[in-house]
């Protein structure tokens, strides 16, 4: 087993990996950009090293610097988390060459699945159903226009190196094609350093169902069932759950088998996720392989009892998979909500600033994977994910109730977050019925505004603001005067004391 692992990521996922290392008795080395010196992952790790200026290209995407850091500090392996270099085959190759274990698939498998176009070709050849569309990058705009007409509008623009919704655009007419392509290419370039895009048929209102898999270095592959991730905005998932309400045991078995075959075709090892679209007629299409640990991996962990990060590390260290397909089972129901620094009442625009106060929910069956703390300034340079709230319960109904209560108990002050929005998603009758498709947000929450609260709530909130106001003016007097008492903002009205009996 490794003695030290470099975690080349930031935020909640870096914290998650660092904790796994600690439990396994492995030293963790965090890397950080100049904007992240105060990041939680830096504080949590055993060691930390700065790898450059704030922009990701100069830090978290700086392969030479990261590998050099691993080498000089004696880390034998690098865990890339998700995003950044996680699915970068060039990085995996450089690690291999430097004699450092990349905790993820081998570089050839990454090459194949990371190139969405080549993956489509390979999967189609092996009889795996794919979405109709291009299997190459066009030379110029005219060719895209011809292809789009051939596929038939609406079409979907996708980044060949894509993931996380970056570079993706729905195009409904030829008029929209050029601006869509330009903007998609620019976003792909900025996110992946590769501007290649292709077009495929836009499947209307499908479900997004993916399978989690683990493959060891010896060809043994198991799937850990599905996750349904249909609740999305801007093609990015915000709520995930397992099991999916759409799968029968028979369909689950069939999709699981197909997913295993996908990894076989790609000669894949380590953890991976095979994404499918499931249309209204329960026909499924291979979408892509996410060749990394997924953001939503905790729902699988809670229902199968398998620690995916630890499995990744064991597989990378050359251990044989001890899990057997026939022994794996799903138990209960798990839901994850992604907490983003975004304003849901303003088109999900990113919000940045200081987290003035944080209180994470807890209780039975509640898990919080966070990378934040009260007093931390959210930098503008990176993805706006702050944390993930995950619940487990015996049934879907009780998991929904548990999630709603946990969101109600979650306090983040100082920046806009998706919390109030997620509460309404979880409480929506269509969600409760399991009627989830990728159009759910658009169909039910377009131009969403938070509903007015009870009138009394505003009155009491104003009263609290007024009390705080009084205490602030008292603070100024205290600063100028002789009062050495411990400051409490609530003492403004004279002789109240903490703990005093009424």
């Amino acid at each position: 087993m490794f003695k030290k692992i470099l975690v080349s990521n930031r935020g909640e996922i870096a914290c998650r990996i660092i904790r796994a290392c600690r439990e396994m008795g492995i030293a963790s080395l965090a890397v950080y950009s100049e904007a992240d010196r105060a990041g939680l992952h830096v504080q949590l790790a055993d060691e930390a090293a700065c790898i450059g200026p704030p922009p990701a290209v100069e830090s978290y995407l700086n392969m030479d610097r990261i590998i050099e850091t691993a080498r000089t500090s004696g880390a034998e392996a690098i865990h890339p988390g998700y995003g950044f270099l996680a699915e970068n085959s060039e990085f995996a190759r450089r690690c291999e060459r430097a004699g450092i274990v990349f905790i993820g698939p081998n570089s050839r498998a990454l090459d194949l699945v990371g190139d969405k176009i080549r993956a489509r070709q390979a999967m189609e050849k092996s009889g795996i159903p794919i979405i109709p569309g291009m299997k190459h990058v066009a030379a110029d705009f005219a060719e895209y226009a011809v292809e789009a007409r051939k596929i038939g509008y609406p079409v979907m623009i996708k980044a060949s190196a894509g993931g996380g919704g970056k570079g993706m655009r729905i195009v409904c007419s030829e008029e929209e094609l050029r601006p869509g392509l330009e903007s998609g290419q620019r976003e792909a370039k900025s996110a992946f350093g590769d501007e290649s895009v292709y077009l495929e048929k836009y499947i209307e209102d499908p479900r997004h169902v993916e399978f989690q898999l683990l493959a060891d270095n010896y060809g043994h592959i198991v799937h850990l069932f599905e996750r349904e991730c249909s609740i999305q905005r801007r093609h990015q998932k915000i709520v995930e759950e397992t099991p999916s309400q759409a799968l029968t045991p028979e369909l689950r078995r069939k999709m699981g088998e197909t997913a295993r075959k996908v990894l076989e075709v790609a000669e894949y090892n380590n953890a991976g996720t095979v994404e499918f679209l499931l249309d209204r007629n329960k026909k499924f299409y291979f979408l892509e392989v996410n060749a990394r640990l997924q953001v939503e991996h905790p729902v699988t962990e809670l229902t199968t009892g398998v620690d995916l990060v630890q499995q990744q590390i064991r597989i990378a260290a050359g251990e044989k998979l001890s899990l057997k397909q026939e022994n794996l089972a799903q138990r209960g129901h798990a839901i994850e909500c992604r907490i983003y620094a975004e304003d849901p009442s303003n088109n999900f625009l990113p919000s940045s600033g200081k987290i003035l106060f944080l209180r994470e929910p807890n209780g039975p069956g509640v898990r919080h994977d966070g990378g934040i703390y009260g007093g931390w300034e959210v930098p503008i340079y990176y993805d706006p994910i702050l944390a993930k709230l995950i619940v487990w319960a015996e049934t879907r109904e009780s998991a929904c109730a548990r999630m709603a209560a946990a969101l109600d108990d979650y306090v983040i002050l100082g920046i806009s977050t998706t919390i109030p929005f997620l509460k309404e998603v979880i409480s929506h009758p269509r969600f409760r019925e399991g009627e989830t498709t990728t159009g759910f947000i658009k169909n039910n929450f377009d131009n969403w505004r938070q509903k007015e609260g009870p009138a009394e709530g505003l009155t009491l909130a104003l009263a609290a603001a007024a009390l705080e106001e009084l205490s602030a003016s008292q603070r100024v007097e205290k600063a100028a005067g002789l009062d050495k008492e411990v400051y409490s903002p609530w003492q403004m009205l004279g002789r109240w004391r903490i703990g005093e009996k009424p």
């Binding site: 970056k166 303003n346 625009l349 990113p350 505003l458 104003l462 009263a463 609290a464 603001a465």
Partner: protein, 168 residues
């Protein structure tokens, strides 16, 4: 004691009277009696007729974030117009519409030029923040009167990007 705040652009006046650990709150024509218990520096417990309210307050300059039983209120000191004026924002007075950056980020593209006619919802510029491109759309039909930024500029939230003159 009277206090004046702005919530969602609406002015709110509230007055408090204290007797020991009880406060009388007057808000418009409503009056509430609450028993107050300090929990910590930022948290306070209110009992109103036996019903329990947990309140957390965090302050950032003139903004107060008040969380109360699962809901967050953004409460600003003083009046809306006054705050706009302080920021040098003259949106209220002019017929022209100033399009501002919705969040801090980087201008990656300006799609229009000065004096160009624009349709409502036409993309005027693209601002990137947190690796996402956000298209800035025209709020109305008219002409581009002035462009304040160029590609590559870093902009703060609410910084003016362009000015649109409404179609006559």
């Amino acid at each position: 004691m009277d206090f004046e705040f702005t919530v969602d652009g609406v002015r709110q006046t509230i007055s408090l009277d204290r007797k020991d650990d009880r406060i009388s709150i007057r808000h418009g024509d409503k009056t509430l009696e609450a028993e107050v218990r300090v929990i910590s520096k930022q948290a306070v417990s209110l009992l109103v007729g036996g019903r329990s309210f947990q309140v957390i307050v965090a302050r950032d300059k003139d903004k107060k974030y008040v969380w109360l039983n699962g809901r967050t209120y953004l409460i600003q000191r003083g009046k809306e117009e006054q705050r706009l004026a302080e920021r040098g924002d003259d949106r209220a007075q002019k017929g022209n519409s100033v399009v501002t950056a919705p969040m801090p980020g980087k201008v990656v593209k300006v799609n229009v030029s000065e004096n160009e006619a624009v349709r409502k919802n036409q993309t005027l510029a693209v601002v990137e923040a947190m690796k996402m491109e956000n298209e800035i759309k025209s709020p109305l039909e008219g002409f581009v009167k002035k462009i304040y930024v160029s590609p590559g500029d870093l902009v703060d939230s609410e910084k003016p990007l362009l000015e649109i003159e409404p179609k006559a």
